[in-house]
């Protein structure tokens, strides 16, 4: 009997990808809504994971002509244990064995929701699509590539302060030895001859003089070999290597005073999420520090940060003081790329505004890469004015207002736009 065995394992993988794409595209809206719901529930650091998405089954059913409930049907079932002909039995409530024929098993799955898992990439695409984030994010990352100089051996040219003295002199010595090898050998011979002649001679004979001349000529030749030639020079070399600056810390500062209601906190959260995503694409390791404040500031867990109900008056500087301390104690600016995102409704204790400005200007801004302040309401108050003054003097301090969810992304993009790119 003819037989072919074919190993197909390596060919034709992912045949269903096209179908899967079509499915995701078709239900983009439902999926995007599910993604949005999921984001709301997610912890920031889990935001990027694959997501299980649920779509109501009625939305994705393919309609067919089918028999519905009702009318008369006769069906055969196995496993009779007690019935005899003519028995009457109560109608089971749905499910198997309801006696409604094929319908029972066809709809056995009922109207459960249809659940499947979006991959991490699909999820991110939808997440950004939901925010109308263009693919620009990747160019952002490429353009902000950091370089670090690394030692890369020795090179022939460089600046004097990089001269590798030992290496250079070693080379020079070698060169001198190499170039004078033959004359030295000859010189030795001649000197031996000279000494032999001197024993017999008084030092004035013809061959002796000739020998002396030849020796002098050789010595001159040897002396002409340069002590240090430009080709001996060796410089310590450094090369620029791309450096995904390996660690960053992000401080999330949020006002939780009485005026920050859930909607405002959600705005803040959306902003933090975007910043977090942006930074994770940029840095290998990222720490997040959550600081919440009313009149007093505290460093808290993420869960507390967003969900704790504690509240009170407002004293923004308390958070800045805490930020400054944490930064200096744990994240020295030389080792860490420090980012701060602050969200507040700008309703601060009046006397505190000047205090904030000076803290920022003197202690904090010199240490951080970027400081973004988002005010989640429209009205401009004391803090806003103080900060605006500051922003004029510091390019890496930015402040924006966003009072609806839709504004968060444009504000974010505005804050992180590339130089010279119109928003």
């Amino acid at each position: 009997m003819a037989l072919h065995i074919i190993d197909r394992r390596l060919s034709g993988k992912n045949k269903s990808v096209g179908n899967r794409e079509r499915f995701v595209r078709r239900y983009k809206q439902q999926i995007a809504e599910a993604v949005q719901r999921a984001v709301g529930k997610r912890e920031i650091r889990h935001i990027e994971q694959a997501e299980t998405v649920t779509i109501p089954r009625k939305d994705i059913r393919e309609p067919l002509f089918r028999h519905g409930q009702g009318g008369v049907s006769d069906t055969v079932h196995p496993g009779n244990s007690e019935h005899v002909r003519g028995d009457r039995i109560a109608r089971p409530q749905g499910g198997a064995g309801s006696g409604s024929g094929s319908q029972a098993s066809n709809s056995g799955e009922g109207d459960d929701d249809f659940t499947f898992t979006l991959s991490k990439e699909e999820f991110m695409e939808l997440f950004f699509e939901d925010l109308a984030l263009p693919r620009l994010l990747r160019t952002h990352i490429a353009s902000t590539q950091q370089y670090r100089l690394r030692r890369a051996g020795y090179s022939h040219d460089g600046t004097p302060q990089n001269l590798a003295l030992l290496r250079t002199m070693g080379g020079a010595l070698g060169r001198r030895i190499a170039l004078t090898r033959a004359p030295q050998r000859e010189l030795k011979q001649l000197q031996a001859q000279l000494e032999a002649l001197l024993e017999q001679d008084d030092g004035t004979s013809e061959p002796l003089i000739e020998l002396r001349q030849r020796i002098e000529a050789l010595q001159a030749r040897i002396a002409r070999v340069a002590f240090l030639d430009p080709i001996d020079l060796r410089f310590r070399s450094r090369t620029r290597v791309p450096d995904p600056s390996n660690q960053a810390v992000m401080f999330c500062l949020m006002d939780v005073s009485g005026s920050m209601d859930q909607a405002r906190k959600d705005l803040a959260k959306r902003f933090f999420i975007l910043l977090y995503l942006f930074l994770t694409r940029h840095y290998e390791k990222i720490d997040i520090v959550f600081i919440r404040h009313h009149t007093q500031a505290a460093e808290v867990s993420e869960d507390e940060f967003f969900h704790s109900q504690e509240t009170g008056g407002t004293m923004v500087s308390s958070a800045l003081v805490l930020l400054d301390q944490a930064m200096r104690a744990r994240y020295p600016a030389g080792d860490w790329n420090i980012y701060v995102a602050q969200a507040s409704d700008g309703d601060n204790f009046t006397d505190d505004n000047a205090q904030c400005a000076s803290l920022l200007a003197e202690r904090i801004l010199p240490q951080v890469r970027y400081y973004a302040y988002v005010q989640v309401v429209q009205e401009e108050q004391g803090l806003w004015h103080a900060y605006r003054q500051l922003a004029r003097q510091h390019a890496h301090f930015a402040l924006r207002k966003a009072s609806t969810a839709g504004e968060i992304y444009p504000v974010f993009r505005d804050l992180f736009k590339k130089e010279g790119v119109a928003v």
Partner: protein, 542 residues
């Protein structure tokens, strides 16, 4: 019956409907009266490491093939393809078709399959087999040697011989050209997507799919055509079809003696038409040629699955019977080790498990269990008939079992197979009973059980349960308003007063998209009295 309820050895197969396999391909010697004698006993059984190798698969296959030959199993040449679990999910979610056009619903199936597989809710099908020539069986990489042996016996010899010999497949499908046709369909749909946009084509396919159950010819046998002709005729067909349609919808006055116009009062179509997709393909006035071709593709593929939908019990029962019989025979003759036997028997037992009604796991009759039991029962009736069997099966009892079994496989579909062969003994073994469900009554009635007075009722009821005509609503093209708004009227003839689900309005929208004008559906009682329910959807926006 939902295929995925019996996932362990899920059946996927089919064939396209235009050429019976030539008689010359059939087994020359016919079916032997009794199994042919075994060859020499092997010195030692085949090795049974849990990891398979290609060499081992070949050796197992050779032994299985030799054994199958002794029982007269006539098969297409076999092509075994080793695939990964993911590829199995791919294949599973495109209806078992090895190639197919792109559609979101296959993506949906894939996601659902993947999810239940990942969560461990479902074992993947160990095998998928395609009714093609050569017959392709997929072996999953993760299977053990013993499982590969089971799959080869089940798919490459069981299903394969069923495809080749059952009359429905022989009459309606052409194993030689199905793969080519699927490739053609995929390419054509891809071209359409390029030309008309993915979304446009997707909507059109949605509408075709919604009506694909009504895209089947039940009685008319397709003409013989191969792919080359199919492709060559396409353009010709497009031009001609449009011309025919124009003729039907012409508004010019007829010229006496030259035109055969339909008399104004005659109905169109003259006879009700059950193949709705065929009807719209031939008669819808506004369809573009590419749209007609896609309707045709969906219709052809629906037809391809039609024999399969009618022979699930028989086909699975046959494959299960033969893996059981072949592997047992090989064990008796010293080919298989105890380990291999225990391993496949455990799978086998899962496959044929039939939970009783009322059990949590119960979801209807397991076609594997019923089919397997029936073929075993036929063998029993032949070999050890009781007096009861002699009364019920006078032509069967005591005759050679092998030809009897082949006869039963070749000449029936589920409905007639049950009607012909379900024995009282088996009804007692399975403790069958029937339920009469009348929605107007508060309680269900047990109308028959496995006793002398119930046997015939049970057999008849179960047989009808497999009649696709009764399982699916009977809907036909009834009338077209030729002179007015061109509306299409469908007629649903209620079987035992059973109504349609609320999907009906949605399906009609799809029908209206295909037809291009308004569509209505009248639901009438079996006696054809005035419709009690009318659903209607207006013409789709142009």
């Amino acid at each position: 019956m939902n295929l995925s309820q019996y996932p362990v050895l899920a059946p996927r197969a089919g064939g396209q409907a235009w050429r019976p396999s030539p008689a010359s391909e059939r087994l020359a010697g016919g079916v032997p009266q009794a199994p042919l004698p075994a060859g020499q006993r092997p010195a030692q059984p085949l090795p049974d490491p849990s990891d398979w190798t290609f060499e081992l698969i070949e050796r197992y296959h050779a032994a299985i093939a030799a054994t199958a030959g002794r029982f007269g199993l006539d098969t297409y040449p076999n092509q075994l393809e080793v695939i990964s679990a993911e590829q199995m999910m791919d294949a599973y979610s495109s209806g078992g078709m090895p190639v197919g056009y792109r559609h979101w619903s296959y993506g949906k199936d894939f996601l659902a399959t993947e999810r239940s597989y990942r969560r461990g809710h479902m074992g993947l099908a160990y095998e998928i087999v395609i009714n093609s020539n050569p017959c392709i069986s997929y072996l999953m990489e993760e299977n053990t040697t013993a499982m590969q042996a089971l799959v080869i016996a089940h798919a490459a010899y069981g299903h394969n011989s069923f495809f080749k010999s059952n009359y429905l497949f022989g009459m309606w499908t052409d194993a030689g050209s199905i793969i080519d046709y699927l490739v053609y369909a995929r390419d054509f749909v891809a071209q359409c997507e390029e030309r008309h946009g993915v979304e446009t084509v997707e909507q059109w396919l949605d509408s075709c799919h919604a009506l694909s159950n009504l895209g089947v010819d039940r009685y008319r046998r397709p003409s013989r055509k191969n792919l080359a002709r199919e492709r060559a005729e396409r353009e010709q067909r497009e031009a001609y079809a449009q011309q025919q349609v124009n003729e039907l919808w012409r508004t010019l006055p007829t010229r006496p003696g030259k035109d055969n116009a339909l008399p104004g009062n005659e109905r169109f179509p003259r006879e009700p038409e059950e193949n709705l997709l065929y009807f719209v393909e031939k008669n819808a006035p506004l369809m573009e040629p590419w749209q007609r071709e896609i309707v045709r593709i969906v219709r052809k593929i629906a037809q391809y699955f039609y024999p399969q939908r009618q022979t699930q019990v028989m086909n699975e029962g046959w494959a299960t019977f033969w893996h059981y019989t072949l592997l047992n025979t090989m064990y008796d003759e010293g080919w298989l080790t105890d380990g291999v036997m225990i391993e496949w028997l455990s799978s086998h037992t899962n496959v044929i498990y039939q939970p009783p009604a009322g059990h949590r796991a119960y979801s209807g009759i397991n076609p594997y269990a019923l089919g397997f039991a029936m073929y075993r029962d036929i063998r029993r009736i032949c070999q050890e008939p009781t007096d009861e069997d002699r009364r019920w099966f006078p032509d069967l009892a005591g005759t050679p079992w092998l030809p009897a079994l082949h006869h039963a496989m070749q000449n029936f579909k589920d409905e007639s197979f049950v009607g012909q062969y379900l024995s009282p003994q088996l009804m007692r073994d399975m403790r069958l009973f029937s339920i009469h469900d009348d929605a107007s009554q508060r309680e269900l009635l047990v109308s028959a059980i496995h006793n002398e007075e119930g046997y015939r009722t049970l057999r008849q009821t179960l047989s009808q349960q497999y009649d696709l005509g009764a399982r699916e609503p009977n809907i036909q093209v009834w009338n077209v308003n030729l002179r007015g708004d061109r509306g299409l009227t469908l007629r649903h003839i209620r079987h035992q007063g059973r109504p349609l689900t609320s999907d009906v309005q949605e399906v009609l929208k799809h029908a209206a998209r295909l037809w291009g004008f308004g569509v209505q559906l009248e639901s009438v009682n079996a006696d054809g009295e005035t419709p009690t329910l009318v659903y209607a959807v207006p013409a789709p926006p142009a």
